[in-house]
Subunit: 446 residues, 2 copies
């Protein structure tokens, strides 16, 4: 039997796993099979290449295949698609018929964009944006058109919001349609309305509670029907969710878990001996819910990849778990969430309460002191902090890190309110917005 550590998939989880396995074992044969042309790229950076903020798409690639081959002695194979796994023989068969033996197999097959089941979603000009190939297609489409144009973005997730900003920067008019009642459904109403207002101010036309019904060709353009109304667009981008690429693992006998993702334990092991999984294709342990969840995020992929790579290399590993922490931005408003909100908390058996409080990113008398809206969720009987959402101007992401840290530490809302934070008028106010929200929750704020 080969001792090779074989990784299927060459983005965040796969390359983290391979690199970490190399760190753990300088001598092991390590092979990565990537079915596309790109490895170790920052998919989350795509909107900023589309917008022009990032000049070169290669800047989104942390390290290319040659780097991993030459500097890490990792055998990275591009255009190499794994088609079948024999977990008893410990072999993987590639699309071209080659059979590779493995001692340990790490599935890092990622997730794919879903297209809603409505007529016309596969017409040319209807795009999803997951990887660099998608990004190149979008860019080519934008370049092929005369200046200006109009785009329909379907779905108010991070990709919809971030591409809205990017397309505006390219001179495209943007309509955003979201089936749910709020423009950014991942946020509760109060923080979400700051984002929607910023988008509207920038000229994004937002329709909520309205579904895409069909897309038809209309000459060179597309005609999209949303809630009965037909409008013409130069392109339609679907941000309507993703699904785990778990088929290969399933065919190898790996149990699937939440939302059809590959079920893994805290070490990244699947139910099949010799097979690990990590990243968007796999479940992850949730720190608050204390059960597996499927929340595909680049940060989780990176961290899980490292744990799985280390464990698969025989060096042991244990994934601390996720809080589903995410951040995004539109214009001057950054926003995001960590932990769970009241509905999920109630479902998990907590007795949640929520507080919303507006603070300032720096002292109010300083020029440019922006509003920072903080929502915190805690368990009433124990005081335990369960989640937080923030939107506004002023170090929103790092303030969410504070909430994540507090949740991870099992802090109560009172303990968060009593933290000792530094203060300097031009960078952070006397009472930080997070502290102030926590203090308001316990009645310790004016």
């Amino acid at each position: 039997m080969s001792d090779r550590l074989l990784v299927v998939g060459g983005d965040a989880a796969g390359m983290s796993a391979a690199a970490e396995a190399r760190r753990a074992d300088p001598d092991r044969a390590i092979t990565v099979l990537e079915r596309g042309e790109d490895v170790a790229y920052a998919a989350c950076g795509i909107p900023y290449w589309i917008s022009g903020d990032v000049a070169d798409i290669d800047d989104l690639v942390a390290h290319d295949a040659a780097y991993f081959r030459d500097r890490r002695r990792i055998d990275v194979r591009l255009d190499a698609e794994a088609r079948a796994v024999d977990p008893d023989a410990r072999t993987v068969t590639l699309a071209d018929g080659e059979v590779l033996g493995y001692g340990a197999l790490v599935m890092a097959t990622g997730a794919r964009a879903l297209r809603p089941e409505v007529p016309g979603v596969s017409l040319p000009g209807v795009l999803t944006v997951r990887d660099l190939a998608d990004a190149r297609r979008l860019d080519a489409l934008l370049r092929s058109r005369a200046a200006g144009g109009r785009a329909l973005l379907v779905g108010g997730g991070a990709i919809g919001v971030e591409l809205a900003e990017a397309l505006l920067a390219r001179g495209i008019e943007v309509d955003l349609v979201e089936l749910l009642p709020r423009a950014v459904p991942a946020l509760a109403a109060e923080p979400g309305e700051l984002v929607a207002a910023e988008m509207a101010r920038a000229g994004v036309s937002i329709r909520t509670g309205a579904g895409l019904e069909r897309i038809d060709a209309a000459g060179e353009r597309l005609a999209a029907t949303v809630a009965g109304a037909r409008s013409e667009y130069d392109l339609v981008v679907l941000g309507t969710g993703v699904a785990p690429n778990a088929e290969l693992a399933a065919s190898a006998g790996c149990e699937l878990g939440e939302r059809g993702a590959i079920a893994v334990d805290r070490r990244g092991r699947t139910s099949v001996a010799g097979i690990w999984a990590a990243g968007d294709c796999a479940t992850a342990h949730h720190r608050v819910l204390e059960r597996p969840v499927w929340i595909p995020l680049a940060t989780t992929a990176n961290a899980q990849g490292r744990v799985a790579g280390r464990d698969a290399a025989g060096a042991g590993g244990r994934f601390a778990g996720v809080l589903g922490s995410w951040v995004s931005k539109f214009g001057e408003v950054a926003f995001g969430a960590t932990g769970i909100d009241v509905d999920a908390a109630r479902e998990a058996g907590f007795a949640p309460r929520a507080v919303v409080r507006d603070g300032r990113g720096r002292s109010g008398y300083m020029p440019g002191a922006g509003r920072v809206r903080v929502r915190l969720v805690w368990d009433e009987p124990t005081g335990r902090l369960l989640g937080g959402q923030i939107a506004g101007a002023g170090a929103v992401s790092s303030r969410l890190h504070v909430v994540s840290t507090a949740i991870s530490a099992g802090m109560t809302i009172r303990e968060l309110a009593e933290c000792d934070f530094g203060y300097a008028p031009p960078v952070t106010p006397l009472r930080d917005p997070v502290e102030l929200a926590a203090a308001a929750a316990i009645g310790d704020a004016p």
Copy 2:
């Protein structure tokens, strides 16, 4: 005996105490004696009024005396200096001879700037900057001179660094002299050098390891002798430390503690029945050292004031304690610290280790992704996080809040490394600089 709750001192601690006492007891008579003209002002904002960023000095006043009188029914008396306390009779005698009875007395007398014991430190044009009266004097002096001029700042504390930036903005050349070997002695070498480099780039001439020896009048100007060399200046600002205003409390029999500050317990009570103290005049419980310390900061004053006010009003209180967290900024470099560094840790019986790691404020491929240097200190045998220092560009203050939160929660360096932080290229990188530093400490970073 009067039931009056009497507060001596009307800035951060005093007005917080009075306002909190009013929240706790809507009916109690509450009087604040302020010997100056100003209450509830942001002393930390003074450099930004001097620089011109804040247009009106009144903007630094959160609420004026009239607000507290009319809206909070707090009897605020300006130009009212408490001269003597009779703790048995429970009376305070004012400078004008008036005697006020009290049921509870809160000492919030603050701290005063120290002048080094060298010849000439009391000459006109040699200033300290603690309160708004000082700020007005400095501004008047700047206005009285022709454009330009040259200032000597003595001491590389926050006031020295922040005034350096403010004076440059006013067209003044700035020399900074610091007795200790580093320009910003409150920071360890690695983060501190980023600050010193930013100051030097902006044109501040820095001398370290050099003491002010004397100041002489030189016509309209001042001649300062530093390490044997004499130079002429238009003004000299002394940022050479502060001392607690504890004399009134001491004369009332209150025990003094660390550095001569008024010793208080976690409820803010002094050793004398009926007398509380809070803010820059008082000690505070340190969360890591688990003993009283004297670290005068506006944040501490505000928080201690609230606790003491509530407890003095009979509503109970308990101060969670400090980490000595502070933040400052020069140009594009923000910096600060929380918790303790290796020397203090060793002295306290820990076996400290430190790690320093440079990260980026956002994804490296995004324009304007600045360097963020993180130093973390932890206890080797237990892994417990003890302190952190950060300097750089990119949400430094909020990233310090993360470290503060982790220390307060008793997290280990590994637990900090394993936190789940959100990521979005334009606002925060895949691996946060704090996470990366913690990961480096446990060998989990490339």
